[in-house]
């Protein structure tokens, strides 16, 4: 569907995107992950034809980027970062303008599409409001309706949930998941849980390069076993507990934490060979009369990869 080869973009001397190559298949939801300033937005802007690449090629459905730009643009629905809209227009007028520019000339068709979109994005109550009066979340929804106006095959969303409150984030995520069933979606974010929750595939970008590109499951699997285990016990003595835990294996690493409640002890336990220790711990504690309040594997799999791959010195 989308083929990107050695895409590079220089701003004067500064290299924002440095030789990115990737292939995105039809129906995939790809999350573009990276710290601020990693080159996510620049990459998306080149894909949508807003920026011209310094070098490299973009092929979308067999069309080449600079030559067939207009055809490609009609295949893509794009939501730029922080959804810049025309503030002096009403929501309805804005959508009408967009529909006309995107070539929906028939009045009936436009109206039908508005009804569908207002259902999907929840716009029915704000259709006659000026855009300047809308909250950020509502603007984002209008922007999403704009992107989906012609029911495009490819949707590119640049940080669709940034600056929204948790309810709005959940709403936008639901919309992405609903439309993602039939469309190819690329979206950028720096929130890991978001990528984890919505994407089939994640590409991590740092300093203009792709440092990881795999399915969400496989990326998580690679480090999942290295997870840290959180243990909180009641009715136990810290030193005794430590000794008991060391009985499991001599080489595990135990870190005592500040207890959250009075009369409890908390530990963070990890083993050097990434072995999952939960069952061993349970069996050991069962021998005593201590009470397990919490025994959990901290799921920071993606966070760990992310931090490792995007460290300053990499």
């Amino acid at each position: 569907m989308i083929e990107v080869q050695k895409l590079t973009k220089y701003y004067d001397d500064f290299c924002a995107v440095n030789g990115i190559s990737m292939t995105i298949r039809k129906g995939e939801i790809l999350g573009l992950l990276g710290p601020n300033g990693a080159g996510k937005t620049t990459t998306l802007r080149m894909l949508t034809g807003y920026f011209r690449p310094s070098s490299g090629s973009i092929k979308i459905k067999g069309l080449n980027m600079p030559e067939d730009a207009i055809k490609i643009k009609s295949l893509i629905g794009y939501l730029p970062e922080s959804a810049p809209l025309y503030h002096n227009m009403l929501v309805y007028d804005y959508l009408d303008y967009i529909a006309r520019i995107k070539g929906i000339n028939d009045k009936e068709k436009r109206f039908d599409r508005f009804l569908q979109l207002s259902d999907l994005c929840g716009l029915s109550s704000i259709m006659s409001k000026p855009i300047s009066n809308l909250s950020k979340g509502l603007k984002q929804r209008v922007g999403l309706a704009h992107a989906m106006m012609t029911d495009p095959e490819i949707l590119i969303l640049d940080e669709p949930t940034s600056g929204l409150d948790p309810n709005q984030i959940a709403e936008i995520r639901d919309i992405i998941k609903t439309i993602g069933k039939e469309k190819t979606i690329i979206f950028s974010t720096h929130i890991l849980s978001e990528a984890e929750a919505t994407c089939d595939r994640i590409a991590i970008i740092n300093k203009g390069r792709v440092v990881a590109d795999d399915t969400t499951e496989r990326l998580k699997h690679d480090v999942a076993q290295g997870a840290v285990i959180q243990l909180t016990l009641a009715n136990a003595h810290a030193e005794q507990a430590r000794e008991k835990l060391m009985d499991i294996r001599q080489d595990i690493h135990i870190l005592e934490l500040e207890p959250a409640e009075e009369g409890t002890v908390s530990f963070e336990i990890s083993s050097p060979d990434n072995h999952d220790l939960r069952s061993d711990i349970y069996l050991k504690i069962k021998e005593t009369d201590w009470i397990i309040l919490q025994l959990a594997k901290e799921s920071q799999a993606l966070e760990k990869i992310f931090r490792e791959l995007t460290r300053e010195d990499v």
Partner: protein, 234 residues
């Protein structure tokens, strides 16, 4: 073609949504009205010569105020990105915006049609120069709009766009009045470049293809330059 119209209609209605249209129209009418009628009865001539005579100078300040927002505002708000990632060509965008500004400038002249109407009541007026004057004024406005459009495409700051636009329009207006500073060899070229004389030719009621060609060339050159700027800046 359809998209040019869509963009033009949107930009044109934008003028009337914001207060800018009403402010610009009032200032234009006050300035031209005052300067025209303050001396009108002294000469006792039933024509619009003085009105058209100062139009190039007035336009070189009024038109950049109309065109300054065309690109600068969009770049500043960020909607430029939205616009450029829709399936429209640079040419469609530039032409759409140009037509909107020209149409608005023409509607600026609409209330002044009452002047010839009023004059024809009190004296014998020759309609030729008046008709020619209005045709010339639309060409002049269109040429200045293309200059202003170009100025606006250069920057995201509307004030800078206005100042650049004024400077360019003003230069084009007065350049043929500075001939005594110029070397004799290029005088005829400079004379041709000045917008004022071409406009005044048409305003005399003589519609000469050379003058029309001049305005069309200016419009073409600056819309093309706008296209180049758009192309180079992305």
């Amino acid at each position: 073609m359809k998209q040019i119209k869509t963009i033009a209609v949107k930009e044109f209605t934008d003028y009337f949504i914001s207060p800018i249209a009403y402010i610009v129209i009032s200032i234009f009418l006050i300035v031209t009205g005052w300067f025209f009628f303050s001396t009108f009865f002294m000469y006792g001539r039933a024509d619009l010569r003085d009105f058209f005579g100062m139009l190039p100078i007035t336009f070189s300040f009024i038109i950049p105020a109309i065109t300054m927002r065309l690109f600068s505002e969009e770049k500043n708000v960020g909607s430029y990105e939205t616009l450029l990632t829709m399936p429209v060509s640079f040419t469609d965008i530039a032409l759409g915006k140009f037509f909107a500004a020209t149409l608005f400038s023409a509607s600026l002249l609409l209330p002044t049609l009452s002047y010839p109407l009023f004059i024809s009541f009190i004296g014998e007026m020759d309609p030729g120069p008046a008709i020619g004057g209005y045709i010339g004024a639309v060409f002049l406005a269109a040429a200045y709009c293309s200059l202003g459009l170009f100025a606006s495409s250069l920057t995201r700051n509307q004030i800078i766009a206005f100042i650049i636009g004024c400077a360019m329009c003003f230069t084009l207006t007065i350049i043929d009045k500075l001939l005594f500073f110029m070397p004799t060899k290029i005088i005829s070229v400079i004379q041709y470049i000045g917008a004022d004389s071409h406009f005044m030719n048409i305003a005399k009621g003589v519609i000469d293809s050379r003058d029309i060609l001049y305005f069309v060339s200016v419009i073409f050159i600056f819309i093309f330059s706008t296209y180049i700027v758009m192309h180079e800046k992305n």
